[in-house]
Symmetry: C2
Subunit: 142 residues, 2 copies
DNA sequence: ATAGTTGCAAAAGTTTTGCATTGTA
DNA sequence: TACAATGCAAAACTTTTGCAACTAT
């Protein structure tokens, strides 16, 4: 019953689903492969849906949304809010931050290990910090 | 033609509109008063719309949206993205950060002057930093 | 066999748009 | 008077939901 110490980054799609206690259905497996095999990256539901179609996977957009949220709830993905127009999901679930290119919508990870934030007030009484997000917004290159 | 050194926080609604070169129409003035007279706070389009109605101002939701964006473009407001469900606008346009209560949707400002972030990589070549946002997400108090 | 999933279409929610009307300068 | 802004409703989008059909265990 012990989880091996294999870092989650290297677990195959099937093993990840098993670990998350999610039934390895055809669609979940296919989406998990698209999400986790290429290494860390960011997707929107729309993008993942297109990738699935391009890969010949039969899946509906609604199922992509549902699956992304199931994966997020299971801790396999992280939601990144940078843009009210659409939701990004990040396959990198370690503590880290983001560059966000406002022009293209592209996201780039910033390793959280080297970032040190000082001078923040403590959380208001009774509240617990669930996450600290740093987003560096980048705009056009002139 | 010189702008006085009055901090923008204290300019009356009418003066703000004049400064921003926005015609002081009835609706803009009314919304500007609701936005800028109470001091720093955060609104959504929906909330501002309700406040306007409560104040007896005749304005449509579409105009509230349009006006919020005009004010933002003019630099009178700042958009705060914390939540893909809806867009917040902040009347505090100085550099600062936010606590975000995930449960209630409430935002609280964190003065940016005392916050020091170290260890961030420099912006990718050719990109310019338009803003650094720090969002501290707070969840339920147990 | 059965309980959990999927697909689809339709609903829900926020935000934007188009155009006739109105109001400011 | 001219031109910009408004109001409204409808459109556009993203995201969620409900339920019959399906599928992994």
């Amino acid at each position: 019953m012990e989880t091996q110490s294999t870092p989650p980054h290297r677990l195959a799609a099937l093993a990840r689903l098993r670990d998350a206690k999610l039934r390895p259905t055809k669609q979940r497996l296919a989406l998990a492969k698209l999400l986790f095999e290429p290494g860390d990256h960011h997707v929107t539901a729309e993008i993942l849906f297109e990738q699935a179609q391009a890969a010949g996977v039969k899946v509906s957009l609604a199922t992509v949304y549902n699956t992304l949220h199931q994966f997020t709830t299971a801790g396999l993905l992280r939601e990144v809010v940078v843009n009210s127009a659409c939701t990004y999901f990040d396959t990198n679930i370690t503590g880290h931050h983001h560059f966000f290119f406002e022009d293209s919508g592209e996201l780039i990870d910033i390793d959280g290990a080297n970032v040190d934030i000082r001078g923040l007030p403590k959380a208001p009484d009774g509240a617990r910090i669930s996450r600290v997000d740093v987003i560096i917004r980048l705009s056009g290159q002139e």
